[in-house]
């Protein structure tokens, strides 16, 4: 939900609640005050009545009470205390009942007690309450309209730099040459600070990225040259015909170890490159053709291990780095071969949405998270322990998904396009 919407909603709820509470308080307060006023009127009425009765020694006629209505009931020797009640009030000449206020009291005339009820209409008060309610409601509506307009125009204006900055952050790529531009006249200090902070951060990220790139290249150079020296010295050393068998055995171990260091170093550098999006060649690729070619390439080793290869491939065109695709497929193929059983099976299934490599192997599922972690490899594996990490990082960084699934007896590596 957008910030303006959230803000609108909150402010409207708060405003409405306050108006509602205010309305209720008004209603109660006005009711109380008007009752007090009426009660005072009625008390005066009552006193006038007492004075009349004392003076005239007779009950007055109803006509003597202007707007009010009075009734007298003989109650003998009973006594009543003065009290005020709400009562329906019927307007003379009509049958319509409206709200009224009445005083109930007692008068004595010639030794007989009379219960006196004087009622008065509350219509005026009711009208007042109605008027106040209407004013409150109108005020509420006006307030809401004002709030919405303010929020829409004022807030949108205030937040404009934020959205402009957000757009720039979205478009920002550490590898690219784009920088965060100033977004013009910003009024709010917070956004000024945000803009500065983002610009600083972006510049730092770009700088760090550049130095990382330099580091990658330098590390490659610094490590590969000594390894090249070792390899070349070994190549020359084995030309020596005076060496004996035991010495050749040691040289063979050196060869193997050097080869492993080389592969490890290459794999680590490749990972850095993938993670930093340093490989950016993209071409339209017909995946079916590429996979067929890979099948041929691996046919020798697959055949030698007595593995059956089944490939079910649909045509699928997509845009990807040919270099990375090659590495990805190599890694998945050699993984399927390496961890297979003698006489096992490999299935390659390519559809419009998926590429699935299934291979037989140890009949137990692997940990679907750990299998992609660095240096998680089987004890018998000759690999670097980085093959699947590289495969997953290629997928993650270039818009594909790779996950592991065990469907007995197959270990499956599934790429989703």
């Amino acid at each position: 939900m957008k910030l303006t919407q959230l803000y609108n909603r909150a402010s409207i709820i708060i405003t409405l609640s306050i108006l509602l509470v205010a309305g209720i308080v008004y209603y109660i307060a006005i009711g109380y005050i008007s009752n007090k006023q009426l009660d005072k009127d009625l008390t005066e009425e009552m006193e006038e009545l007492s004075a009349y009765i004392n003076h005239k020694q007779q009950l007055p006629k109803p006509i003597d009470f202007d707007e009010d209505q009075a009734s007298f009931t003989s109650i003998g020797q009973q006594k009543i205390k003065r009290r005020f009640v709400d009562t329906p009030f019927i307007e003379p000449g009509t049958s319509k009942a409206e709200a009224g206020r009445a005083v109930v009291d007692m008068v004595s005339l010639r030794g007989v007690n009379y219960k006196v009820v004087i009622a008065e209409s509350k219509e005026t008060t009711e009208n007042l309450v109605q008027l106040i309610s209407i004013i409150t409601a109108v005020l509420g509506v006006l307030l809401i309209v004002a709030l919405i307009i303010t929020n829409r125009f004022l807030l949108a204006g205030l937040w404009r730099p934020f959205y402009l900055l957000l757009g720039q952050i979205r478009a920002f790529q550490v590898a690219g040459n784009n920088t965060i531009d100033t977004v013009g006249n910003i009024r709010a200090d917070e956004f000024k600070e945000l803009e500065t902070a983002i610009r600083t951060m972006a510049n730092k990220a770009a700088d760090d990225y550049q130095s990382l790139k330099m580091f990658t290249e330098n590390a490659s150079h610094e490590m590969m040259t000594p390894i090249a020296v070792i390899t070349s010295k070994l190549d020359n050393l084995i030309q020596d015909e005076s060496l004996n068998e035991a010495q050749f055995e040691q040289l063979q171990d050196l060869y193997t170890a050097t080869g492993k260091i080389t592969k490890l170093n290459q794999a680590l550098l490749l990972l850095v490159k993938i993670d930093n999006h340093l490989i950016s060649d993209v071409a339209e690729i017909e995946l079916k053709t590429t996979i067929k070619q890979k099948c041929r390439q691996f046919a020798e080793i697959i055949q030698a291990k007595g593995i059956q290869l089944h490939a079910e491939l649909q045509e699928k065109k997509f845009k990807f780095s040919p270099y990375l695709l090659e590495i990805l497929l190599d890694n998945l193929f050699s993984n399927a071969v390496r961890h297979n059983l003698p006489g096992g099976e490999i299935q390659v299934l390519l559809t419009e949405t998926n590429l699935v490599f299934s291979n037989t192997g140890k009949p137990e599922p692997l940990d679907s998270e750990k299998v992609f972690e660095r240096f998680q490899k089987g004890k018998a594996s000759e690999g670097t322990g980085l093959g699947l990490t590289i495969a997953r990082n290629i997928c993650n960084n270039y818009g594909l998904q790779l996950h592991y699934h065990y469907a007995a007896p197959f270990h499956q590596f599934i790429i989703t396009f």
Binding site: E222, S232, D235, Q252, Q266, K273, S334
Partner: protein, 223 residues
């Protein structure tokens, strides 16, 4: 064949020179940009091995200068940078090949020989070794005049060994040449054994000679 090795790492430079040193090959070396420029200006070479990262300049600049001066030398770039961009830049600047450190000397020799053949024969590209005749464009192999059918791998192996004739080639170098790092080393050693056994037999059947000599389990020598 006259060769110039431009490489700043002394040990590597000497190794390469030592490996290439044989009858008919003259190896000269340069440790930096300045001396390399001087040598290139003074002499003509058949092939130049050029390290990109020199202490006093970039090898690619040297390559540009070389091409600008209209020199005809074949150039193989030696680089520690295995990046696609560098490779493409190097080849676009007119380099003939690009080899990434670390490499086996046998691989380098094979590349140099291939380049040398391409440049010196132009068209009529026949490779003769002892009684073995290879027609490179058609990949036809004749032994004592008899056509021998070789698999792709056997053909690759044969060319590789002829380029490195008289040298012991380690199985590791051969495995890398044939499969890069597609398969595990242990598996590739088995394949190498099988391929060489078959190739050896095919050549021996037609010539009566055994060209391959196994060297203590570390590799093979072709002579």
């Amino acid at each position: 064949m006259k060769l110039l090795i431009i490489e700043d790492e002394r040990a590597l430079r000497e190794s390469i020179a030592g490996y290439f040193q044989e009858e008919g090959v003259i190896c000269e070396t340069s440790a930096d940009y300045a001396s390399a420029t001087e040598k290139i200006a003074l002499y003509d070479y058949d092939c130049i091995l050029l390290d990109i990262g020199l202490p006093d300049g970039n090898g690619l600049t040297l390559l540009q200068e070389l091409k600008a001066a209209g020199k005809e030398e074949g150039v193989i770039i030696i680089s520690a940078r295995n990046s696609l961009d560098d490779r493409i830049t190097g080849l676009n600047l007119g380099a003939d090949d690009y080899i990434v450190k670390p490499f086996h000397l046998a691989e380098l020799k094979a590349r140099v020989m291939a380049l040398f053949r391409r440049r010196s024969f132009r068209g009529n590209n026949q490779l003769q070794y002892d009684c073995i005749n290879i027609d490179l464009p058609t990949m036809e192999v004749k032994v004592d005049g008899n056509l021998v059918t070789l698999t792709k791998k056997e053909y690759d192996i044969l060319l590789y060994f002829i380029a490195n004739k008289g040298k012991v080639i380690s199985k590791n170098a051969l495995a890398e040449h044939l499969w890069k790092d597609e398969i595990d080393l242990a598996d590739s050693f088995d394949f190498i054994y099988t391929h060489i056994k078959n190739l050896r037999k095919k050549l021996a059947d037609n010539s009566g000679k055994d060209f391959f000599k196994s060297v203590y389990g570390i590799g093979y020598k072709f002579s």
